[in-house]
Assembly symmetry: C2
């Protein structure tokens, strides 16, 4: 029997996160204030603790992981690396396919990798209360878990329509002791304003962000936590790639190409960045960010300064964007519906260092179902974007006869997404190509800088 799972011992959990900034050809474009001037660390202090702000702007290659965070990581880390032998056979490809499985975390995705250190650093800074927003609940449940493990209270503003229609993630957050509010609430100015105009508002991620940020900014005892996009979030996620690298080494392999879904960028940055260090040193490895054709930020968006949120409360970030007033179409891969993208991923894409590809929805479910039938695990719809792109590459290898080594990030399981699978099986899912006019129109509404 040849091995299919490559495991690491607990002591092999990385001791440091990898900071890609150290290996970028150019320093990251800074976030800007409404005046067009770079936002200083001090301005972020109202909602973030000092150590996270330091990480946000650091250029150090290696940032030590605090021992209590490594200790908590051990509840599920190191996560397994699998060789997808049954999938390879089903495809008839000479390629060797590996996947890193992050669905083994208690929350079922890679999100706790950053939720844990965020809760930890806040507690270390004497902050015992965090607010955040959540849509379908993947990030909210990860922060709820992290808050519980580090003794930090968590209040989650959950988009009302999800709160009502998707009670399971809500119950999960409550199981871990978080307080979950249906947003818009009457507890914030932002919420009250919305309710005054639309008493029956179903809420939106933009509104929920505004409520969570407002509360954190106006309460001394409370900070805010974000699940993607920012540099420190991607930094924390590099445990994925660092482990995968070590595991591939044990298998005597090095990847020719790496695939990960890309919404805000933490899933992609997490697995790809540690390999970028080698690429910077001359090694050949393709790093492919995979996004939906319904929200084609990297592949068709504008590389420009834009707001991180819908309302325009955040600093301006230089990133690929479809416009901060982008209204995402109804697609089930909820985690990939962000109008912008990580500034780090964006800059690396603009500089030609990482690639991006967009895939249509139905094809991602086809890939997810094929994967589940071969490998057992039912993937989250977000992860199925990576599977689709990896399968496409494996099929190209079949044509060319190349025995490439491929790696993708299986960022989560689909146990809370079975309603989407149900729609797929009943033929209700459709592909959606984001219209060119909307992309062009967004250009005009981008904020003027300076």
């Amino acid at each position: 029997m040849s091995q299919i799972k490559i495991l690491l011992d607990e002591h092999e959990i990385p001791t440091h996160w990898y900071n890609v900034v150290a290996d970028m050809p150019n320093p990251p474009a800074p976030p800007l204030g409404p005046d067009g001037k770079p936002v200083g660390p001090e301005q972020l202090g109202a909602i973030f603790p000092p150590q996270l702000i330091e990480q946000e702007v650091s250029a150090e290659r290696w940032i030590p992981i605090p021992e209590p965070v490594r200790e908590a990581y051990r509840l599920w880390r190191p996560s397994p690396l699998y060789r997808a032998r049954r999938l390879e056979e089903a495809l008839g490809t000479p390629a060797r396919i590996y996947y890193k499985y992050e669905g083994v975390s208690p929350a079922g995705s890679h999100k706790p990798n950053t939720a844990l250190p965020q809760a930890y650093y806040n507690r270390e800074a004497g902050v015992h209360r965090l607010t955040t927003e959540t849509g379908a609940g993947q990030w909210g449940s990860s922060l709820a878990l992290a808050g519980r493990l580090f003794g930090v209270d968590v209040r989650v503003y959950m988009v009302r329509v999800s709160y009502e229609q998707k009670p399971y993630r809500r119950s999960m957050m409550q199981t871990w002791g978080a307080e979950v509010l249906a947003s818009p609430t009457d507890r914030t100015e932002a919420g009250r304003k919305v309710l005054a105009e639309h008493p029956d508002s179903p809420g939106s991620l933009g509104i929920a962000i505004s409520e969570a940020v407002e509360e954190a900014a106006t309460r001394d005892d409370t900070n805010y936590a974000l699940g993607s996009v920012l540099n420190h979030v991607l930094l924390h996620q590099t445990v994925i790639g660092l482990e995968a690298k070590k595991q591939l080494e044990k298998a005597g392999e090095y990847p020719d190409a790496i695939f990960a879904a890309c919404g805000g960028g933490s899933n992609f940055g997490g697995i790809a960045f540690p390999f970028l260090a080698d690429k910077a040193a001359g090694r050949e490895v393709r790093l492919v960010a995979v996004e939906p054709t319904s929200c084609p930020t990297l592949t068709r968006g504008h590389y420009a300064y834009d707001f991180g949120d819908t309302v325009g409360l955040t600093p301006l970030l230089r990133m690929y964007t479809l416009g901060h007033d982008f209204v995402p179409p109804a697609i089930h891969a909820g985690g990939l519906r962000y109008h912008g993208d990580s500034p780090l991923v964006s800059q690396l894409h603009a500089e030609g260092i990482v690639e991006a590809v967009a895939v249509p929805q139905v094809a991602t479910f086809e890939a997810g179902v094929l994967f589940a039938r071969c490998e057992g695990i039912i993937p989250a719809p977000e992860s199925s974007h990576a599977i689709r792109a990896c399968i496409d590459e494996a099929l190209r290898c079949k044509e060319t006869g190349e025995a490439k080594t491929l790696l993708f990030n299986l960022s989560g399981h689909g146990h809370f997404d079975m309603a989407a699978y149900d729609k797929y099986f009943s033929g209700e899912l459709e592909d959606y190509e984001y219209p060119q006019e909307a992309i062009e129109a967004a250009l005009e509404r981008l904020p003027k800088v300076g």
Copy 2:
């Protein structure tokens, strides 16, 4: 950092299942036909393949696991053994608590441990089609997965009310390619009979069993598969205990007591039986089956011959029973609502070799939530019965100061049971003590033997 996960390599997956019959003081009471005479292997041939029938009656201590089954086990086995350090701290107990986590299987529970070999042996016997029944869907999804991995078609008769109210497990079965029918159907005599009388019947597990067995018995190309109760099912589950034993050895431990939920018995037998061999050799170890007070089969039922199903189609099994016409009260630990119990577990209980304890529902959810808040993993409500009993023992250790080693089987995660958690948090769950009159009344309706 002291280790919290004890892992095994893939080559350490057991090579043999352990057959407890070899170490029982008395041979198992045989199943009886309606005439009161033992049912011979040949009579089971209509619905089971020869190798499973052989295992059902075998007294050999070790039964080899076929290589293709071990190969498929590797998709998630060996499963991890955890030291529950955070739970120990929260309880302030001197006891050391370990748990074996079976929720890492793609189906989320221990059930695939037997679904895999059942699909395999059927295929080896030239049978490429299996029927089964499922209530909430845990067993049906496990057989769907197994059928997919071994190229066996699976038709699942799913209780109609679950089919309609719990679509997620249904979608899971479909993802793995199984055909799922809402039972009662008009495709079997049993189903048509029910529909003629009750066109709007919500179905029941009893009816679904009748439909699945009828189809298997009347079609040459089709066999039937059962997820618990029978000897061969418990045999396959012993991979759990065999691995746990090896893992505890690596930690330099031997358990003083082992706890597992007990419905049909496969969860309990799976973890406990391999330790019973040591007990038979004189070693002290308590083996505790934990059941709900709402369905107190082992603790308050009659040890007698009774039908395995509601309708009375199966042979008579000697087991603890609440009567085959038992109507389970509405409790969310669906997997523990069986009127009877494994004949092996029953006999060992009658002989005083294994213990049984019943716990009330609300206390199991309290235990499950405490566990989730300490260890991260959200347990299936069935598994929370074992957690409750283990916590109670750990609290006794706190009083006495005994540093006992405790082990329980975390047989599955609760991702598909969040609605039950929701009810718990909103205070809708109640305890239910099965009434004494009902137990006494059942005695009169037990079938006469011979």
